[in-house]
Amino acid sequence: MASEMNRRTFIKATVVGFTGLTIGCPDNSDDVEPIDGGADTNGDAGVPESYSLDLWINIDASGKITVQIVKAEMGQGISTGIAMIVAEELDAAWKDMYFELVGEFAENAYAPYGFGSPMTSASTSISVNYTRLREIGAAAREMLVAAAAARWGVEPATLTTAESTVLHPSHGSLTYGELAEDASNLPVPQEPTLKDPARFKLIGTPAHRLDTTDMVNGKSVFGQDVVLPGMVYGAVRHCSVLGAHVTNLAALQAAIADTAAMAVVQIPHGIVVVAPSIWQAQKVADSLVLETDATPTQLALSSDSISSTLAECLTKPGLNVHTAGDAPAAMAAAETTVEAVYEVPLLAHETMEPMVCTARVDGDQIELWLPTQGAAVVVRDVAAQLQIPEASITVHATHLGGGFGRKVKADYAVQAVLAARETGEPVKVMWARKEDVQHDFYRPAFTAELKGGLDAQGNLVAWMTKNAGPSILGDGLPFPVDPLSIAGFNQVLYEIPNQQIDHVACKLGVPVGFWRSIGHSQNAFFVEGFIDELAVASGQDPLAFRKKLVHNDPRHLAVLERVEAMSNWGTPSVPGAAQGVSFTEGSGTYTAQVAEVSVDPGNKMTVHKVYAAVDCGRVINPDAVEAQIQGGVVFGLSAALTGEITIQNGQVQQSNFHDCPILTLADTPPVEVGIVDSTEPPGGVGELGVSPVAPAVVNAIHAATGTRIRRLPISRHFGT
């Protein structure tokens, strides 16, 4: 239905659905009563009439401008960034800007002013939609101008706009709020005129996020916070062996007879136990003994078997993904050759908010409230798995308590629908942390074999590399190689005359998925660790070596020079520390990092500081760029230092933050971010701090100790 509705109806329906249902009173309120001081805060304040401009923008009579966000807000500040771009072209006063999260539906709901990809992933929200968002703001501005021109009986060209107001030399001014109703009845201009970027007032200036106040007051609605009238709770238990199914459902249903639980519902690879409280549901779920159909193959899966499979894959001829010159001949003629094999483990996402979804089934209509990076994926997967029409599914977006690629998947949505359908009640399905760690779609384990050839002058003349690992996108792709497997691997940033780059797709029997920075997360480690080896082998400074390899590309060179200056390269800020450098590209953004590391006599290593130079093209909100790069470095550092999911007998061995730790505040080194001025198109930033940090740190460890780490995490080699 949603995809057939006209967009205006769709927007209004969505907005009403969200605000009307997530802010409710808890249903268990008869278990508790205030005995003093309880104030009623639910007064019915007057709400000004709101008008949709049919452009994902509503303006109400008071002048409040609400941009509807179809991208996932998961901490990257995308709602603020989108609102800034729209406000810039709209000539809106920043104080008037608000946003509202709406669930994404079908792709065709976005045309012509769409938001591109049906997922929020790969750091593309701004880079892909920058021009469209400008057009949305500009079109809305032209509608408001046209409304004012009609009101005054003047030509639109005689009018100007500023600070949410349309101005005329003799008629005076009208606010956007005063014009909203008239504007909402006008056609949407198809080719609005965009501002000259030289006139930008908002874009490029640090802006406060529009949602911080709610977050620090605990008012933001995350998936975990959704409340529906009459809602019950579902605790999930998966089979501990990956891929297995529960075979004793009837016995489990009999076993809950004398408990608080209302139902045991079968889901793919597990069960949901439903009860009036999540506490009760979880207690019962924990007490049940699941029998499964785990196969010998599933039970034989282990970290060792995964490493063996990867090593075996590396021996196979790969598919060529890039060639330049004649690499084998150049390698044979090289003065010095260097070879190395690298490997990275599975990694979990560990979003602070574990998977959660609330579902309500009413006849053939299904409504879902969940934190998701891909509402369209949810609609598609729920429809396909339950064999119901996509049109019967409505998704309401919430804030995400972290996403990092995990919440692109719809497994938890399917579970909630199954539980709600079987019990007939609205159900909030929540995962315990153990389920989250043990039933993730992991960053794939990957390996790479790299060979480089240097001539007598130390020039890198030959590059032959091959990586091997599982595809995230899976089988049946319309292209021979999953682009995510080779991102940051098939196109090196360096000018090397002879290259042969291959890839071997390799099935591991482990669920894999998008993990912040996706393929770059392993490929940057492989490439940038190995480039460092080549610099060292030829007796060259690692940063000078890189600069020499990009000397024909001013943009690349500028990023490396920036990090060189920031880090005072060669003179670490901490006495006794050593520096390591790395350089990467992703989503149109270039990032160079320098890490300062020391290793004490007890082999314990410390990262003292990280410098990150970033060229992400035109910057929308520099404050958000800095925050994302800093957060990305911390995320990447957690993985580099201790990140590892291991498997034994088909089961993930970690279960919570004690055995798959993430960095704490005390562990976190200062991260200094330098943003390169640029008028190039905007690139992504959400993932761009992540992948460079592992190679920068291992390169620094080499500089400090002479030990070359080719297998992560670093905690396998040094105390952290």
Binding site: D36, M352, R433, F657
Partner: protein, 150 residues
């Protein structure tokens, strides 16, 4: 019937005394600021103040708080609490925001007991996990909130 005080409001409680405070706050009172993050008292996203001391609300039962006073993020509105929240906003210390109620409450307690904390004291106190990695700004926000009024 148990009697407890939450954010200045006294309640008579009929709920199961063994129910963890976290779920009592969320399910029975609709106070969703405290979050479930790990369930074993490690991550700190469920932090609340119990008689002014930070506790992991997933590790405390309703029975154990009888006669005590709980402050959640929704009720942290005294002068110091407001100062901490203002510093958080000014510093843009939040990313996804999920852990921030725990961070803010912990910071409020730290600053009440140690008005001018050193970095080492911040390291020792601010142990709530943040997967977004907003720690550098969280530290800056604590320092900003510790600044004497100008």
């Amino acid at each position: 019937m148990a009697s407890i005080k939450i954010n200045g409001v006294g309640y008579a409680v009929r709920t199961d005394p063994q129910k963890p405070l976290l779920w009592f706050l969320r399910e029975d009172l609709g106070l969703n600021g405290a979050k479930y993050g790990c369930g074993i008292g490690l991550c700190g996203t469920c932090t609340v103040l119990l008689d002014g001391e930070p506790v992991k609300s997933c590790q405390v039962t309703v029975e154990e708080i009888t006669g005590k006073e709980v402050t959640t993020i929704e009720g942290l509105d005294d002068e110091l609490g407001q100062k901490v929240k203002a510093a958080w906003i000014e510093t843009e210390a939040s990313q996804c925001g999920f852990c921030q109620p725990g961070q803010v409450l912990t910071a409020a307690h730290l600053l009440r007991t140690t008005p001018q904390p050193t970095d080492t004291q911040i390291d020792e106190s601010m142990t709530t996990l943040c997967r977004c990695g907003a720690y550098q700004r969280i530290r800056a926000a604590v320092h900003a909130a510790a600044k004497p009024e100008e």
